[in-house]
Symmetry: C2
Subunit: 222 residues, 2 copies
DNA sequence: TGTCTGCTGGAACGATCGTTCCATGCGGCG
DNA sequence: CGCCGCATGGAACGATCGTTCCAGCAGACA
């Protein structure tokens, strides 16, 4: 039987279950990101987390339950790590326009390079479980939608979106940027030694010059 | 025991094994692309291809052998389909510069949309089996490298690469384009109803305006 | 025609899969 | 202290996994 969905708030918890839960989620996230959902066995999660199968099933109910918990945890963790980190660096940036965009892109690339597990998990599961599980796919869609909105918000705040080409949607620009980020990240995963994520991300900045009307003062460094 | 690695050339083949081989490769390719390698069982391949396990193991030796054959077959098939198709349309195009680039990008997007299994297979396996099988990963790297070279070749022929910004490598531009293609394709896989691949690919054309010095005559349609 | 070789049909192998069961331990509460 | 309920340890479940074995059949070659 599965434990209640509520995370034992307030009431007297007998033994600390948070340890088990957190350890399983961490181990499962790494394994899922590395080998995929189908390629990860409960035994592997059990060994990596130092728990027993019965505890895992008590906490999560099924393998799908582990995946749901992992996705939920990773989504919040990712958002706190990557975007908040990029926004924090952005807040320190006094410049505006291209220079500010550069700092933001580099911060994003560094955050991705430092903790690649989440984006790996996201993309791998999106491809692997496309027609399998609607719930996990929806969770992935939500994370991506939020990333697009955050990007659009940054474009507005940094003044890039102020003078877009006519006929070019801001959301479309954000989606395109996200697509380029994803593709560059995958390229870095496939051959890591020949791909520099920071350098790749900086290409976006150059590309942006084509989408805004020329009002800023050039800024054409390499 | 596995059959000889050579594909029974010239010698008298008793019963036609090509049927079995082709059917297994086709079925396995679809299943791998949809569910991943670990998520696809021999039983599923056996049922989808209408063969028996013993025939599969006689032909391919192991599940890894199936994967190797699928990748090899898909690589050539992909290159014939997508890039040759795009080049064929390109050969019919009398224009040059941005218009020619547009036709090429749309042809590429259509080819991807018409047969998405291969790129799905490529990206899924690249993420799923990154630290598992070096051989299949190398095959994937080869396909991508060839795609980058083909892109670069097209950039040269269509006159786009003639006047690149200083400090910007042609190969880097081709790799960036490939990354954007991959990311857009994944976006189309995750939420197909809100993503138009042709439209997304056409963004590349706009972005290119930023990477070449302005010599052509504008060309700023939506 | 007889033999040889290539390939198939069908059953089976041990291992591992996800999952369940139950006895046991260990808190909090009366 | 004794009861209760959450959580664990350990063993086991049937199903399915990838793989193997072998008898049998159909052309090729003599």
């Amino acid at each position: 039987m599965e434990r209640s969905f509520q995370q034992t708030l307030g009431g007297g918890t007998a033994v600390a279950p948070a340890d088990t839960r957190a350890r399983v989620i961490r181990a499962a996230a790494e394994l899922f990101a590395a080998r995929g959902f189908a390629g990860t066995s409960i035994s592997a999660i059990r060994e990596a987390s130092g728990t027993r199968s019965s505890s895992i099933y008590w906490e999560f109910g099924s393998k799908e339950g582990i995946l749901a918990a992992v996705l939920e945890d990773a989504a919040t963790r990712w958002h706190e790590h990557a975007f908040s980190e990029a926004r924090r660096i952005d807040a320190e940036c006094t410049a505006d326009g291209p220079a500010r965009l550069t700092a933001f892109l580099e911060a994003l690339a560094d955050a991705l390079a430092a903790r690649p597990e989440f984006l790996r998990l996201l993309l791998l599961l999106a491809l692997e479980r496309r027609d399998v599980d609607a719930r996990s796919l929806q969770a992935i869609r939500n994370v991506r939608q939020r990333a697009v909105e955050d990007l659009a918000q940054f474009f507005i705040e940094s003044g890039i979106a102020a003078n877009l080409r006519p006929g070019l949607d801001l959301m479309e620009l954000a989606r395109g940027s996200l697509a380029f980020f994803d593709g560059s990240f995958i390229a870095a995963q496939i051959d890591p030694e020949t791909t520099d994520l920071r350098r790749a991300f900086s290409l976006v900045r150059l590309g942006f010059a084509a989408f805004v009307r020329d009002t800023h003062h050039g800024g054409d460094d390499a």
